[in-house]
Every structure is written in C-alpha cells, then in structure tokens.
C-alpha cells in the first residue's frame, strides 16, 4: 500500500476515534473507549469512512489488540467478547503471533501447532527454553496483551504565505517578506513546542511560473535567524525570470522539544553555521562542497572519491589522535603527454630535463577482460631542475600525471 494513501486513510479514521495506533501500512488499531455506540455501529462507521478509498477492508472488535487481531482472522466484522480470548485464540495458527519461521518449525517438531497448544505449556520451562520473547508469546496465546497502545501523532501543518500583496522585484523585498513569514512560522513552532528539520519555499512569479525550494536544516531548529540565513544562502544562487508575486513557506520534518544548548559552547562547532556556509559557498560558486574518501584501487586517480560534506554534530569535535607525519604530497596535474628519452630502458630525459633519479616501473593493469583494457608503467623521477614527478608510459606514449610538492 502506498504510504501516502495509508496516511490519508489514517487521517480519515480520526473521524471514528481520536486514538489510532498505526502498526504498519495496512494495519491499525482504534481505541474505542468512551466512543458512543456499540461494536456493530463502530464497524459500520469504519467501513463507511474508508469506503471512498476503495480498498478491501476487514474489521473486528476485541478487548485488547490480540483479541481484536484474532477476531479479525476468524471473520470480518466479528467480535471477541471479554473473557473469551483464550477460547477464540486456541484453534488459530502460531503465525498469528508473528513468531519467526525457524521457531515455529521448532515448536511444530515438539507438537505445538496451535495457539491453544502453546497456551497449555508451562510458562517457566517454555520461557527458559525459548528465551525472553517466549514470555510474551505465552501471554498472547492466553489472550493477555501487555503491549502499549501507541496513538499516532497528528500531523501539524505549520506554514505561512503571502499572496496578492504586491510584487517583489529585488532581493531586499523578498528577504523582507521572508522575514515576516519566518517570524510567523517560528511563533507557531514555539507554540507547538516543535522544531523544523527542513523548510519548503514555494515561489510564485508574475509570469505564472512557480518554483519550489527545499532547504534542509543541519539540525532541527525553531531559530528564526538560522532559518533565514539558510534561506538567504540558498536564494543567493538563484535568479528568477519575473517579479515574485507570492511566497509560501512550510516547516517540514517537525520534531518535538527544544534545541540542546551548552553553557560553555564558544569553541563548539555549530553545524547550522557550517550548513549556512556550505549553502553560501555553493550558491556563490555553483559547485558542491565535498569531502574526500580514500579507497583501494590500482589507479592513482581511482584511489579517492568525493562526497557531499555533511556538517558534524553540534558537540565539540572529538580529539582525533591520528599521528601526523610529513609525507610528500602528490599534486595531480592535467594529464599531458611529455617527450621522454630512454637510456637502458629507463627514462633519462623527461620534458627536456635530465633525470637525476628514477624508480619504477610499477605496472598497473586494469580492466583486462573488457573492451578497453588499460595497462601502464608508472615511474617516480627527480629532474635536474628539482621537480619530483610521477610519470607513466601507456603504449608508446609518456604522460606527466603529477608532481610531488
């Protein structure tokens, strides 16, 4: 079932009961304590409510989750009377309890095939043999369900918009409008005791075009200044073809509670500040800010990759105890062919510079079984002008790959 459809169905079920336990897509329990009517009425109302979604629907009523779940397996619309749980559960298969197949097989070998068989086992020896989870299975098989009812949180939409109040043709006006929207959003967040993990800005232009900008925040916050900095940094890299006539700002990924703060945090790394700086750099340069990762590979160029830089968590960076060592640093140059003279099979003159020292070759053979096999011999050479370079021969051609600096 698509998650969006399931969310819609759960929202619709709010009309039946305010307390809905969303177990997984396709299964939900409703707490009907205090709701007027009786079981047939509740079942009928649930069917009526979900009719418009056109899904096959099964409902049942029980005193607790396991009773309702068992009644559902017996027949659609059935009801398990209080006290009759054990009787109802006894003929049902073990798979009803979502026990793993290997354990079910073990139980079957012991002659336990129905929940009634399981309920009749002595509690202590059964738990000792099958572990802590077995205590819960044993209780469930007897119709005792201690699992808590966890009502789903109700989605709170926090958004603000400005439409039909003129047009903004320069960035100052847009930023002014954004500040107003942010002030409203932050007020609402504060009132609900929530923080936003992301913002979505919808911009409507005078020429009827519209665009949406998603702005993730490094850590969920309700801080207006941080949000404004992030939005401004993102907008700095954008241009709009026409004047802006409408703005809608939504707070997304809402989380409960406040933001952790430290008393002595002057030297702490603020991930929000890092995120704002990265957004500003990306807007100014039009390129992503990354961090490198090394990996095993034969070719020099393939021994590292770049991935987007992610701000570290708010806490002060842990001290890294890696030992530092002075190591010659290779600098990759634009690969270019260089003239090389050989003497005794070794490079003697590279790019019109005599070679004073040479080590190698180290053969690199890659993709031997593909249509484009690669084989090259690499050398480290010291030239008479003091350049310390990495060169390689591929076929009959020589190339300068980099210099050590």
């Amino acid at each position: 079932m698509p998650p969006e459809l399931w969310e819609e169905m759960l929202d619709a079920l709010d009309a039946v009961s305010p307390l809905v336990d969303d177990v997984r897509p396709g299964l939900a329990f409703l707490d009907m304590h205090g709701i007027s009517g009786d079981a047939p009425m509740w079942i009928a109302q649930t069917h009526r409510t979900l009719l418009r979604f056109g899904c096959a629907l099964r409902t049942a009523v029980g005193a607790n989750k396991i009773a309702a779940w068992a009644a559902l397996h017996v027949a659609d619309g059935s009801r398990c009377e209080p006290g009759a749980e054990g009787e109802l559960l006894a003929p049902l298969p073990l798979s009803l309890l979502e026990i793993d197949p290997a354990t079910i097989e073990r139980l079957r070998l012991l002659g336990i095939e129905r929940l009634g068989d399981l309920a009749r086992l002595p509690h202590g020896p059964f738990v000792r043999r099958f572990g802590a989870a077995a205590a819960s299975w044993h209780e469930l098989a007897r119709g005792i369900d201690r699992r808590p009812f966890v009502p789903r949180g109700h989605a709170v939409a926090i958004e603000a918009s400005i439409f039909g109040e003129g047009r903004a043709a320069d960035e100052t006006q847009v930023f002014f409008a954004l500040r107003m929207l942010l002030a409203r959003i932050c007020d609402d967040l504060e009132r609900c005791g929530k923080r936003a993990g992301a913002l979505r800005l919808a911009v409507e232009l005078e020429d009827a075009e519209a665009c949406t900008l998603d702005v993730p925040l490094a850590t969920p916050t309700a801080h207006e200044r941080t949000m404004f900095d992030m939005l401004r940094a993102k907008l700095e890299g954008m241009t709009f073809a026409a004047a802006i006539v409408g703005l809608r700002l939504q707070a997304l990924q809402l989380e409960e509670g406040g933001e952790a703060q430290a008393l002595f945090c002057a030297d702490d790394l603020d991930p929000q500040r890092v995120a704002v700086t990265i957004a500003r750099l990306e807007a100014a340069l039009g390129a992503g800010i990354s961090r490198a990762q090394t990996r095993d590979a034969h070719l020099l160029e393939e021994r590292f990759t770049y991935e987007p830089f992610e701000p570290p968590p708010r806490a002060m960076l842990e001290k890294n105890q890696t030992q530092s060592e002075l190591v010659p640093q290779l600098r990759l140059l634009e690969v270019r062919e260089v003239p090389v003279l050989l003497r005794g099979g070794e490079p003697a003159v590279v790019d019109r510079q005599a070679v004073s020292q040479c080590v190698g070759p180290w053969r690199v053979a890659e993709r031997a079984y593909t249509s484009s096999p690669l084989s090259r011999d690499e050398y480290d050479v010291v030239l008479e002008n003091g350049t310390f370079a990495r060169i390689y021969r591929q076929g009959s051609h020589w190339y300068l790959r980099g210099v050590y600096e």
Binding site: L281, R291, T294, K319, L326, V327, V359, F388
Partner: protein, 230 residues
C-alpha cells in the same frame, strides 16, 4: 674639542641603541598559536603560526607537504578548508594524518572565485585553517582577506611558487622552501623507492620574529627513512 668628540660618541651610541631597539620585533602573541606538528618548523616560528594572519608557503617543492602536516594537526580539533584547483590528491593527505572527514574541499579554479570562497570561509569562522593556491588578485583583495583573517582568527595559508608584491605585503609570515636533497631507498629501478626529501625552510618575513632564520625539515615516511639512511 674633546667635549665635542664625547658628545658625538654619545650620539652615535644613542643612535645605535635606538636602531637596535626599533629593530626589535613586537612580542609574539603566545595565545592562539597554531602548531604545525613539525618540531623544526614550530621552533623556527616561535611555537607555530599566529592565528588570524595570512601566511605564505613559497617554493617549488615541499610547500604542500608542510601544509599537509599543518592540516593533519589542525583536523585533530577543528575543520580545515582547502580551495582546490583540481590538483588535490587526498590519499597522500590522509597518509599525512589528516582526517579527511574534517576537510572541506572547495572546488574553485578562477581567481575571483577563489577570493570569493576565501572571503566566505573567513567570515564564517567555521574552519581554523584555510589553504588556498596563490592567484593574481588586486592589492585591495589581499588586504581585505588579511583583515578578515585577522578579525576571524583564522589562519589563511597561501601556497605559491613565488608570491607577488601584493601578497608579500599582505602576508604576516612568509616561508620559503628549497629542496635540499632527495633520499632514495633501495636500488634504482623496480626495487627502489623515493623515501622523501630534505627541505630547507627559511623565514623571509615574520611580523613578530626576526627574518632570515632557517630550518631543515625532512619529508617522508619515517620507517622508509630508517631503512634508507645509514
């Protein structure tokens, strides 16, 4: 006549004293020194690079090796940004001990973009150290970067083959690296390795210390050196 000669002597001695006093550099701020993890260089710099300055590493060979040591040391506790013109080779940076996950790699090639990126990074104060290649920028841009570095307390290291006049005047510390000798390990050819090199680093300019001091720094894997050197 004798009195006149005595006055002249006293005046000369006074002039000499004044010259010596005025030549004495201002006191080096001990707080906020950024140590390089290279004992010879720290000694040369009176403890490390002062924070909040523009410093240059100049020369054909060795500048990036020294910078990598500095990056390795700085990433122990904070972030470092490298403005990369495409020539950065992270595996050797990692070999130097740098925590790559704490290094922001900013891909920039044009001079204006480099200046802009440095400007944003200095103002943000998210990194303690920013490394950039030397590019041709106007005096006023270098001055602005120097003042931003000063205000933010970030060390801006510029790596140059040769520093231009504008950069020379903006830099508070200028170090020049000269390759002394290459150290090889093993025989020539397939079984050989270039273990590293010896660098001669001299202080061409230092606001707080006398210039002209020199240190020798060995660059390379220690275990290979141990095997390579008698």
């Amino acid at each position: 006549m004798a009195a006149l000669a005595a006055v002249s002597e006293r005046q000369k001695a006074f002039e000499l004293l004044r010259a010596r006093l005025s030549a004495k550099p201002p006191a080096l701020p001990v707080e906020g020194l950024i140590r390089t993890a290279i004992p010879e260089l720290d000694l040369l710099l009176g403890g490390g690079f002062p924070a909040g300055i523009v410093a240059t590493l100049e020369g054909n060979t060795g500048c990036w090796s020294l910078a990598a040591g500095l990056v390795a040391r700085t990433t122990r506790r904070s972030l470092v940004a490298i403005l990369d013109d495409g020539s950065l080779y992270p595996p050797t940076l990692a070999q130097a001990g740098a925590s790559l996950e704490r290094v922001l790699v900013v891909p920039v090639r044009k001079a204006v973009a480099i200046a802009r990126a440095a400007d944003i990074l200095l103002r943000s104060r998210i990194c303690r150290l920013v490394l950039m290649p030397a590019v041709a920028l106007r005096d006023v841009v270098w001055t602005r970067l120097a003042s931003l570095a000063h205000r933010s307390g970030v060390l801006l290291i510029v790596i140059a083959t040769h520093a231009g006049a504008a950069l020379q005047s903006a830099a508070v510390v200028r170090l020049h690296c000269v390759l002394e000798r290459i150290i090889t390990h093993g025989q020539r050819g397939l079984w050989g390795t270039i273990a590293g090199f010896d660098l001669c680093v001299d202080v061409r300019k230092h606001k707080y210390l006398a210039a002209g001091r020199t240190a020798c720094v060995r660059v390379g894997h220690e275990e290979i050196f141990d095997a390579a050197l008698p």
